[in-house]
């Protein structure tokens, strides 16, 4: 079975957050502070040789998801297409998944006390379309699909680990094309 995941090209990303907003739009998230796809900006190096980079992250649709392992009701489940999905009806808002996910992916909606997260636009994919973030990116820095195919499409330089990416040991299915400054151990979060 294909292992599905997102690809992100950090050499192209301009941190514009079009993906983040397209995702909020598709999921109709009006609450500030809740994003299913999140763009964060970082800086490495020192004046006069600094490097700004951005990371567009979302659910890694892990091989061994901590959220599904710890969800007491089975609301968070790995589905047949390999993605991790959430059943709102079963969710009791206990936030065990919020606590257990090493990447801060599941988000609590206080309005109805349900947790939700990226579904990799499963309905769109069943209709033969891309996840909305992929089609939203003005820089064509995002892709989604079979991770083996993504590796062969984007070359051997792609990685799944970077200093700024927490390693939760959950077999995260994400591929990143690293920019030089993303490889530096000393990096800082910045607000842009």
């Amino acid at each position: 079975m294909a292992i599905l995941g997102f690809y992100f090209d950090s050499t192209r990303c301009i941190g514009c957050r079009a993906c983040q907003i397209a995702c909020k739009d598709k999921n109709r998230i009006m609450e500030p502070g809740i994003t299913f796809r999140t763009v964060s900006s970082f800086e490495a190096g020192a004046y006069p040789n600094p490097g700004i980079f951005h990371m567009a992250t979302t659910c890694n649709h892990c091989e061994s998801p901590a959220c599904t392992a710890n969800c007491p009701t089975g609301a968070m489940r790995k589905t047949a297409d390999g993605t991790v999905q959430h059943d709102d009806e079963l969710c009791i808002g206990c936030q065990t998944c919020v606590q257990s996910c090493p990447y801060g992916v599941p988000k609590l909606f206080e309005g109805d006390m349900k947790v939700r997260k990226c579904d990799a636009c499963i309905a769109f994919r069943q209709a033969g379309k891309n996840p909305v973030c992929v089609d939203a990116c003005p820089m064509r820095a995002l892709d989604f699909g079979d991770t083996d195919e993504l590796k062969s499409k984007y070359g051997s330089a792609v990685v799944s680990e970077l200093p700024c990416m927490p390693d939760g040991g959950t077999g995260q299915n994400v591929l990143v094309k690293p920019k030089d400054c993303t490889l530096e151990d000393a990096f800082r979060s910045v607000i842009i």
């Binding site: 192209r12 990303c13 301009i14 941190g15 957050r17 079009a18 983040q20 907003i21 397209a22 739009d25 598709k26 109709r28 009006m30 609450e31 500030p32 502070g33 800086e43 190096g45 020192a46 004046y47 600094p50 700004i52 392992a69 969800c71 007491p72 009701t73 089975g74 489940r77 790995k78 589905t79 047949a80 999905q85 059943d87 709102d88 009791i92 206990c94 936030q95 919020v98 988000k107 909606f109 206080e110 309005g111 109805d112 006390m113 349900k114 579904d119 499963i122 309905a123 069943q126 209709a127 089609d135 939203a136 990116c137 003005p138 820089m139 920019k179 030089d180 910045v190 607000i191 842009i192």
Partner: protein
């Protein structure tokens, strides 16, 4: 209509159910107006569930997530407008069901293709958030009147402007009041007492001009000093944009070894495709260099080598580049002398123009012959802060041995004292011979032409509108406007112009403004010197503003009218024909046929006023908005072959031909033909079905319904549509002269010197060649004692980058954008640490002219001594302290005009100090709303 209102204002922002079983409780709690709710960082509940209650967690097929309905089948996709002053005109569509927007998407008509193929013109985050402007909870719903103001000029209570309460009034009352106030003020005080928005907008300016005209503020705004004299130097001035045609199209970018950007940040300022075009050049091997006070987002993405330069000191840095090129030319052959002597005048004594009256030239100025100061890197670095080795490296990099594109935004020239920067930039490009050839360029990157320059290949037709000229020639230099109204006098200097047309010798004049009118504009926020702006507003008898939301200009007015966005009704985007990527044209449709709430279009409002004022409505508004919408589509044309030229160049050619003919001389017009054909096929059935318009059937290449459904048309690229800037001039300078007096690029320009010196606001005459000018409020003035290097009270240089959260002041209020872009002020990390600051702290930034609060972001990518305060955020004055807690850059900018050109507003030259704020930290913008209670 009321059911529509409920749907739009409620359901549109309710969470929608997308997945089977994903039922949502508490509907309505997540409306756009709920922007103040907390952000979900709640402690987990102490709740456990029996393990037996857990379904099997397996990889087996789960019915819940199979056979989901196609999300696109929920509604109809409508191509929608994103009409702001960013120049993108990208493709946006809204999925609409019963007038409710379910979701947006961008261009999916075209695919990205290799070579000369199409590209998807994808929207930026602003376009993606457009629905929050059109259907935002902060939309103005009704006409409003300020409670303690009455028409008649007696009960004005102007001091309450900005803090008064609002009363809902009817359209009848609002229009009657505006009409009677206009009649009273024009009748009592005359047209010189009425001040209207800088950017004259058709419907309102026609009304005011019919009544006698109005005073306006003239400033070159975005273009800074780059606009002044550009035609006199021989550089282009097309569609109000200086120097725009000098660059090449997107296909030629990878042919450059190096692209040097002087200022410019397309990733923020020109959203959509420009950054993508540049990224493709990077991936093809082109190296980038970025010159500016920060290594910005674009430069970072492009892995550009950063040449740091302090704000407003680019002229000093480039003079040193010229010096090094001259010094090292013999050894390294850096200068293209043939180019300088064939296509330029005034570089050296050998190439002086005929009209020169001063026996000086650029080369000898740089070498220090006239002032004893050679413009060495060591001389420059004291001013600009650029390391000497960077200047030396840049000089060699831009030499004639390399294929180089020199591209600039106008940012560096939006600084006082940069009167000579554009001429100097042109000179550096000429020294390297970087014009008219593939892989070489010297020109602007701006708006839609960033990364893809060249004449448009597909254009909408024009809207038909009346034009009533303004009988008043009273023009206040932009930077002085508010102070002029407060003080009652100002220095008149004529108007801005691309050559010397319109400039006038300075003259002190009195002015007594009684009415301030803001339409299609938010000029209290977008002009420098907000504090005087508020004083000006509070001084007058009548202030009227229109907007979608309670802008700053509305907040300080007496009558506020709600206008429709371009998602309501057939309000043509009259700027669309020109403000767009050259290869594509968007054609949008309304989401709602009528205005939301009680909002009305500008044309409806103006027409109603015309009726009340007894003006000739048919003459003022000859064509309905829907007819104009139709006419723009029917008039759309595409380039169908021949010789592609900018319209100013083709008209110059025709003028030259006519002149030759009159003189009985031969003029070779061979090879000059261009053919444009109608784009859209329109049948009588289309016209009848569309309704309420008249038109003739016509034959085009795409159907009326088809292009309206597609929303975008992109041309097929062919070799005859490619663009290399200045190619004609370089190949045949006699036939295609530049618009300067000599017909060449003028490195010595007598027209410039005579024109500028005739204005006379600076006692020191400017040189005809680009010499260094010490800018007002520049780096030098940040010192109490320059020679002792003793800093003054305001040691930081503020500059004001365009920010991706908004386009100037518009879109700044949208929650998704406010969340994505917090709008901090940016300063160097070491500078911040020395002040005891850390990222996220609230800082007090103060200038001679005002004080603002904002969060700070400390970055290594900002040059020490510089602070970037993003342009366009909403002012929010604390009535107790007078501090702008919104953090507007224009609160910090004062009534200062550039050294020689009063119409240049030096937005990037302002001296400030920065302190840690010890009071309450300021909230995030998405925690605030500006919704009037009526």
């Amino acid at each position: 209509m009321s059911s529509m209102l409920e749907k739009v204002s409620g359901a549109n922002f309710d969470r929608r159910v997308f997945l089977k079983g994903a039922a949502v409780a508490a509907a309505g709690a997540v409306t756009a107006s709920a922007v103040g709710c907390s952000s979900g960082n709640q402690e987990p509940q102490e709740e456990t569930v029996e393990a037996s209650a857990r379904p099997e967690n397996t990889l087996e097929e789960v019915d819940l997530w199979t056979d989901l309905p196609d999300p696109d089948a929920e509604g109809t996709w409508i191509p929608v407008a994103c009409w702001h002053n960013c120049g993108g005109r990208c493709s946006n569509k809204a999925l609409v069901k019963d007038g409710v927007v379910l979701r947006q998407k961008t261009d999916d008509i075209y695919a990205d293709e290799e070579g000369q193929g199409h590209f998807q013109n994808r929207a930026c985050p602003r376009g993606r958030s457009q629905q929050q402007q059109c259907f935002g909870a902060d939309r103005l719903k009704y006409p409003m009147k300020r409670k303690n103001w009455e028409p008649g000029g007696v009960n004005v209570n102007g001091e309450l402007r900005g803090v008064d309460e609002w009363e809902r009034i009817s359209w009848e009352e609002a229009l009657d009041m505006i009409a009677s106030e206009l009649q009273r003020i024009y009748g009592t005080y005359g047209a010189r007492s009425v001040y209207f928005s800088t950017y004259a907008y058709g419907p309102y300016s026609n009304i005011l001009n019919t009544l006698g005209g109005y005073v306006y503020a003239d400033t070159v705004e975005s273009y800074g000093n780059w606009k002044m004299c550009c035609s006199a130097y021989g550089t282009p001035f097309y569609n109000s944009n200086p120097d725009i045609e000098g660059a090449n199209d997107r296909f030629d970018l990878p042919n450059a070894e190096t692209i040097v950007m002087l200022g410019g940040n397309p990733s923020w300022a020109s959203g959509g495709s420009p950054s993508y075009h540049f990224a493709r050049a990077k991936e093809a091997g082109t190296k980038f260099v970025y010159v500016g006070p920060s290594r910005n987002i674009t430069a970072s993405m492009l892995d550009a080598r950063w040449i740091p330069v302090r704000p407003a000191t680019d002229t000093a840095m480039l003079l040193a580049v010229a010096y090094v090129m001259l010094e090292q030319d013999e050894q390294k052959q850096l200068i293209d002398w043939d180019f300088l002597h064939t296509y330029c005048v005034g570089f050296d004594a050998k190439s002086m123009p005929e009209d020169a009256v001063l026996d000086e030239n650029f080369k000898d100025y740089v070498l220090g012959v006239y002032d004893g100061v050679p413009k060495t890197p060591e001389w420059a670095t004291e001013i600009c802060g650029t390391p000497v080795e960077d200047i030396e490296w840049l000089a060699e990099t831009v030499g004639k041995q390399h294929k180089v594109m020199l591209l600039h935004s106008y940012a560096a020239a939006r600084s006082n004292g940069t009167e000579n920067l554009s001429q100097l930039f042109l000179t550096i490009g000429a020294m390297g011979g970087h014009m008219g050839k593939s892989g070489h360029a010297t020109g602007a990157m701006y708006h839609y032409e960033a990364g893809n320059a060249g004449p448009q290949l597909v254009k909408l037709g024009s809207a038909t509108s009346a034009f009533v000229p303004n009988p008043i020639t009273e023009v206040i230099p932009g930077g002085e406007t508010w102070k002029a109204i407060v003080d009652g006098h100002y220095t008149y200097c004529g108007t801005s112009g691309s050559a010397v047309n319109g400039w006038a010798p300075k003259e002190e004049r009195d002015i007594d403004i009684k009415a301030i009118i803001s339409g299609a504009n938010n000029f209290l926020q977008s002009k420098m010197n907000v504090n005087d702006g508020i004083r000006a507003y509070r001084k007058v008898e009548f202030a009227w503003a229109n907007d979608y939301k309670l802008s700053s200009s509305c907040q300080y007015s007496d009558i506020v009218l709600p206008v429709t966005t371009k998602w309501e009704g057939y309000t043509p985007d009259t700027s669309s024909p020109v403000w767009i990527n050259r290869e594509s044209q968007v054609i949008t449709s309304p989401v709602l046929e009528e205005g939301l709430y009680e909002a009305k279009s500008d044309q409806w409002i103006a027409d109603q006023l015309a009726d009340r004022l007894g003006l000739d409505r048919a003459a003022l508004f000859p064509v309905s908005e829907k007819q104009n919408y139709f006419n723009m589509i029917a008039g759309a044309k595409y380039f169908a072959g021949g010789k592609l030229m900018y319209s100013q160049d083709s008209s110059a050619l025709l003028t030259a031909a006519a002149k030759a003919k009159a003189a009985g001389e031969d003029f070779d017009m061979s090879g000059y033909t261009e053919e444009w054909k109608p784009l859209v096929t329109i049948t009588q059935e289309d016209i009848d079905k569309f309704g309420d318009v008249v038109g003739e059937p016509q034959e085009g290449v795409i159907g009326f319904d088809e292009i309206r459904a597609q929303g975008v048309y992109q041309v097929e690229m062919t070799d005859d549509k490619r663009w290399i800037g200045y190619k004609d001039f370089i190949e045949d300078p006699e036939k295609y002269p530049r618009p300067s007096k000599s017909g060449k690029f003028e490195i010595y320009c007598q027209t410039k010197a005579d024109g500028i010196n005739s204005i006379g606001i600076n006692p020191e005459p400017i040189k005809p060649y680009p010499n260094y000018i010490v800018p007002k409020e520049g780096y030098e003035e940040s010192f109490a004692d320059w020679s002792a290097k003793e800093r003054g009270e305001y040691p930081f240089q503020m500059y004001t980058p365009h920010y991706l959260r908004r386009s100037h002041t518009t879109l700044d209020n949208l929650p998704w954008l406010q969340e994505a872009f917090e709008n901090p002020v940016f300063m160097n990390a070491s500078d911040g640490e020395a002040l005891g600051l850390k990222t996220g702290d609230t800082v007090l930034v103060s200038s001679k002219w005002g004080q603002v609060l904002r969060h700070v972001s400390l970055m290594e990518s900002v040059m020490p001594g510089a602070i970037a305060v993003p342009h366009g955020v909403r002012t929010d004055i604390d009535p107790e302290t007078g501090i702008d807690t919104g953090g507007s850059e224009n609160t910090l900018l004062g009534p200062v005009v550039s050294n020689y050109f009063p119409q240049v507003s030096g937005y990037n030259t302002c001296l400030v100090k920065v302190e840690k704020w010890t009071g309450e930290p300021i909230p995030y913008d998405y925690e605030k709303t500006f919704i009037p209670s009526v």
